[in-house]
């Protein structure tokens, strides 16, 4: 199982940047510098360290939480928007940690969406559940998410009652959440699982009077007869029960049964592989990576951390052939770009207006680029993780244009977030080793911003054609030094600034900027 063997060499700067682009929403230059030379195992420990539970989103008008209040129809649109902005900012402000990337992963796995659920309090509770279990135990997670009020509404579990089963959740539980659609479950298994799951419902949906949001089990709506499954599940019979805990007891049996099929941990590992490594699961990857990883998962009693540890320190993950093979999702592009340039959302208790301005801007960009958080289009999540072409699904004529447009906006003075322009190209150039040398400057910028290396002809093109527009390189040195000697001379400053801005805009539109 060489692919899954640990890569133990200290990581180079490129490898650290690569690891952080994949495992988080992207690094800053300083983070890369600090972690270079550490081993993968050391960095992963940091990535998996416990994070404090984030405080809930606040109402812009009152500065108070709204998730624990009765449903407010008049403000529902606003509160839902704040929830979205709040989560976007958690991703933006996240330290070196896997937590928010995994929370997003689970929102694409155990999907619900706002369009269907349509109660911001339900969505908050659901999002909190994803974060709570994101790095926890998958079995407990599956049991919990099955009872989650947003999930009960999204897949009609709340209408699944004895004698009139609604199969929606029972099907997706198997097809998408656990054993996978090639796992061998049958239509009988769908029907029987639906019967196991009868009786649950959500509480306080869009209620202007009651709190809190929760779910409950109604024994009188539960199918108390035995449920018999197919050979895929060893013809297991789940005993029908009639006690107050019948719902939970049978649910535990059901999840235990599904997880005991060897396909279930494999299916989850394939999902993680497509999320973090590559869309192409070759036969070798299946046998030498997915299967042993699934075995780790199973032996760890479905704890998620051991799987992520093995995945991110595997030799396979650091294979050069893997790097650059993923196209950035809109969140990776937008939030990753902001993170690199050091944009952080302020503490909402201090400056709630700026906090929501930033969250709003991110949310608008990722929405137009087709990754609206808390609202994946269907129960399968975003097409980029399952449909032919995979990550290429993010790219089409319109979204590519919007990606370029986003880059353009950051480099102009027109966009100010929290009162500041996002990118000051001159300040940035000064952080680099030798900004007076155009060739070195370009090579430095490119190695920090792009996930893949460029060759000499590309670097020369970027230097001579894009940055310098065919003037000789020594002219740049002269202009840069002129500016350094007279930093308050507006004309001299503009001479270098215009070139740097146009250069960065070009980089943001390059195909190479879209991959990690």
């Amino acid at each position: 199982m060489a692919l899954l063997d640990a890569y133990t060499n200290p990581l180079t700067a490129d490898q650290v940047a690569y690891l952080l682009r994949r495992a988080t929403f992207g690094p800053t230059a300083d983070q890369v510098k600090t972690l270079t030379g550490q081993t993968a195992a050391q960095i992963i420990t940091k990535l998996l360290a416990d994070q404090p539970t984030p405080p809930p989103p606040l109402d812009l008008a009152t500065g108070k939480p709204f998730h624990d209040q009765p449903f407010d129809t008049a403000n529902a649109g606003k509160f839902n928007a704040y929830l979205n902005y709040w989560w976007a900012n958690l991703m933006l402000n996240q330290p070196v940690s896997l937590l928010e990337k995994m929370t997003l992963f689970w929102s694409n796995h155990f999907v619900t969406n706002f369009s269907t659920v349509n109660d911001y309090r339900f969505m908050y509770r659901y999002n909190t559940l994803l974060r709570q279990y994101a790095l926890g135990n998958f079995k407990a997670f599956t049991v919990a998410v099955t009872q989650d009020p947003a999930m009960l509404r999204f897949l009609n579990g709340n209408q699944n009652i004895v004698g009139r089963a609604n199969e929606n959740y029972a099907r997706e539980l198997q097809e998408l959440f656990t054993i996978g659609r090639n796992g061998g479950y049958t239509e009988t298994d769908v029907r029987e699982a639906a019967r196991v799951l009868t009786g649950w419902t959500d509480v306080s949906y869009r209620s202007a009077t009651t709190t809190p949001v929760s779910s409950t089990f109604r024994l009188n709506q539960h199918d108390k007869t035995d449920k018999t499954f197919s050979a895929t599940y060893q013809n297991t019979v789940i005993k029908g029960r009639s006690t107050a805990t019948a719902g939970l007891d049978e649910l535990n049996d059901l999840i235990t049964m599904i997880l005991s099929n060897v396909e279930t941990p494999r299916y989850i590992c394939r999902q993680l592989y497509r999320w973090f490594i590559n869309s192409d699961i070759t036969p070798a990857v299946e046998t030498d990576f997915i299967q042993p990883l699934a075995e780790i998962f199973r032996k760890a009693n479905f704890e998620i951390k051991p799987v992520l540890t093995a995945l991110f320190q595997s030799q396979h993950f650091y294979d050069e052939a893997i790097r650059g093979g993923m196209i950035k999702s809109p969140t990776e592009l937008v939030i990753g770009t902001f993170r690199f340039w050091g944009l952080q959302a302020p503490d909402p208790a201090q400056n709630i207006t700026a906090f929501y301005q930033i969250g709003n801007y991110i949310f608008a960009r990722i929405t137009e680029q087709q990754q609206q958080i808390l609202n994946p289009p269907t129960v399968f999540g975003w097409t980029a993780y399952y449909q032919t072409g995979y990550y290429q699904q993010w790219i089409n004529s319109t979204t590519l244009g919007l990606r370029g447009f986003f880059g353009d906006a950051l480099t102009t003075n027109a966009l100010k977030l929290n009162g500041k322009v996002v990118i000051d190209s001159i300040v940035y150039a000064k952080t680099l080793s030798n900004p007076a040398d155009a060739g070195v400057l370009v090579a430095n910028i490119v190695s920090q911003l792009l996930g893949v290396p460029l060759d000499k002809s590309q670097l020369d093109f970027l230097t001579d054609t894009v940055l310098l527009n065919s003037i000789p390189r020594y002219e740049w040195t002269g202009e840069w030094n002129d500016y350094i000697q007279a930093p308050n001379d507006a004309a001299k400053k503009q001479a270098v600034q215009m070139k740097l801005t146009a250069f960065l805009q070009y980089i943001f539109r390059m195909a190479e900027y879209q991959v990690i």
Partner: protein
């Protein structure tokens, strides 16, 4: 493809069966859609297809209502809690047994004007109940146990415009082969090496957004990273080269009909009408409408003609009617047909939540002035279910085959490659079969062996006066060529060894009249 070549291709495939059998055009004495197709071929290259995907699995049984089986349909044990009352169902001209959902007044109007064809009971053998897999099957046009990395429309366009996108645009084809209005590229439009479509949301801002063509040297990276980078560069290059064309076309025309407001599908079709009228030569347009996964609250319990499904169907129906009116006023209606599809229909028996779970076959709509058969097939038989699901009548690939051959004029080889094998063409674009001939009685004609495996012989005294034509028609209404010989003056022998097993209608035209017999081929 050049128009001339194209005509030759199309003509050869359509004419061959007519001439080889040696019976001449007279064999098609009744108004023949084949002959009509040939006439229409002259401006074939202007033809456009609009695909409307109804995402989530549309409940066909509440959309097209079996008025002949209302007692079962409204039975509380069947779908009484969601059934549309007979009195509310919209009536269809000349088809009293079939009705439409009350929200579909637009579709009713199109049907009564002969601009809508309803293909009943469309599915495929051993249907899949996963949204996922079922959508893939419909889009890639494969059997339930096969997979393909490209979509059916994409494969067709790839044949039609080989080398796209690298060697395009050209003078003959300055426009993208397909345009999708919306978000993420649809699998149906994937060609063998990538999408055949340009995706746009708003033609007016499109050109501004796409920016400049990338002109940096190409990447030297191979492998996964190289593939992704090449893909993105190629997308960028095609968007830029088409941006101007799209802007110009959108600028050249304006919508003439009034579209419904707050109707997302209408907004998208509106753009399409403008682009077609503006002179775009794009062949396929693709739009998506979501929300059809109605497990619960599909109808409002107190009034089953309202609710989620009614709203969806109204949106669809209003948008398509406005689009069709617009096309007519823009004088381009004859160049456009549209079709709707959904990954599956829903369970015939409703659930307890005023909804329906995943099912199988459902009707497809094909609209446009070119349709000929108002209804293909019959209402699904509600007393003959398969595990609570409606049985299939037409394979969806037969409808694709109809679009490829009868609408786009594709030759059989291309059609078969595109759909992976030859499918009988659904009769959407062909006149409905009119049963007027007097059937010969058993005494007058004798067909044996029946079922036949290699040869079948028809004996009748009527044959002695001369045979004008021998036609074999399969159950989908497609005419098949058959080798014949005359062993005696009162018999015709047919070689059926190459025919697929199944039921056929044999029609032999003689001086005394028409002989028709049902022939089964079995092996």
């Amino acid at each position: 493809m050049k128009r001339r070549n194209f005509l030759q291709h199309a003509a050869s495939s359509l004419l061959l069966p007519v001439l080889i059998d040696g019976y001449g055009a007279k064999a098609f004495a009744r108004p023949s859609s084949f002959i009509q197709s040939l006439v229409d071929l002259a401006d074939q290259s202007d033809r456009v297809l609009v695909i409307i995907q109804l995402q989530g699995g549309n409940d066909g049984l509440n959309m097209v209502i079996p008025l002949d089986q209302m007692s079962i349909y409204t039975d509380p044990k069947f779908r009484g809690n969601i059934a549309i009352p007979e009195a509310k169902a919209l009536r269809l001209k000349n088809y009293s047994q079939t009705g439409l959902h009350p929200a579909m007044t637009g579709m009713q109007q199109l049907f009564n004007d002969g601009k809508l064809s309803i293909v009943q009971g469309v599915s495929y053998p051993t249907p899949n109940f996963s949204h996922f897999r079922a959508s893939d099957i419909w889009m890639t046009a494969v059997d339930q146990n096969q997979t393909a990395g490209s979509g059916w429309a994409g494969r067709y366009l790839d044949k039609r415009f080989p080398g796209y996108p690298d060697s395009y645009p050209t003078t003959q084809m300055p426009d993208p082969p397909a345009i999708q209005i919306g978000y993420v590229t649809a699998t149906s439009l994937l060609g063998p090496t990538g999408s055949m479509a340009i995706v746009l949301q708003d033609p007016d801002t499109f050109a501004r957004l796409v920016g400049d063509k990338p002109n940096a040297p190409a990447t030297n990276l191979a492998g996964y990273a190289g593939q992704q980078i090449e893909y993105i560069r190629q997308q960028q290059a095609s968007s830029v080269s088409y941006a101007g064309q799209i802007k110009t076309a959108a600028g050249k025309s304006k919508n003439l009909a009034t579209y419904p407001t707050a109707n997302a599908l209408g907004d998208q079709l509106k753009i399409i009408a403008r682009l077609i009228a503006g002179g775009m030569q794009t062949k396929v347009y693709y739009v998506t409408m979501g929300g059809f996964d109605t497990h619960a609250a599909q109808v409002v319990g107190t009034d089953t003609t309202t609710g989620t499904h009614a709203n969806l169907l109204r949106t669809l129906s209003d948008a398509v009617l406005a689009f069709q009116n617009d096309l007519a006023q823009l004088k381009i209606a004859d160049r456009v047909v549209g079709m709707t599809f959904s990954e599956f229909g829903r369970r015939a028996i409703s659930n307890g939540s005023f909804g329906t779970d995943h099912g199988t076959s459902a009707p497809m709509f094909v609209f446009g002035t070119a349709v000929k058969s108002p209804i293909v097939g019959k209402n699904s038989n509600l007393s003959d279910l398969d595990n609570n699901n409606l049985k299939m009548q037409t394979d969806f690939r037969q409808v694709y085959a109809a679009i490829l051959t009868d609408w786009f004029g594709t030759d059989t080889t291309t059609e078969s490659t595109t759909l992976f094998r030859d499918f009988p063409v659904s009769t959407v674009f062909r006149a409905p079969q009119i049963v007027t001939a007097v059937s010969a009685t058993a005494a007058e004609a004798h067909l044996y062996p029946n079922p036949a495996s290699t040869v079948a012989v028809l004996e009748s005294d009527w044959l002695a006066q001369g045979v004008q034509s021998v036609q074999l028609i399969n159950m989908q209404g497609r005419f098949l060529s058959v080798d014949t010989s005359r062993p005696t003056t009162t018999s015709v022998q047919m070689n059926v060894s190459n025919l697929p097993t199944g039921n056929y209608m044999l029609r032999v035209e003689t001086a005394q009249g028409l002989l028709t017999k049902r022939l089964a081929v079995a092996r």
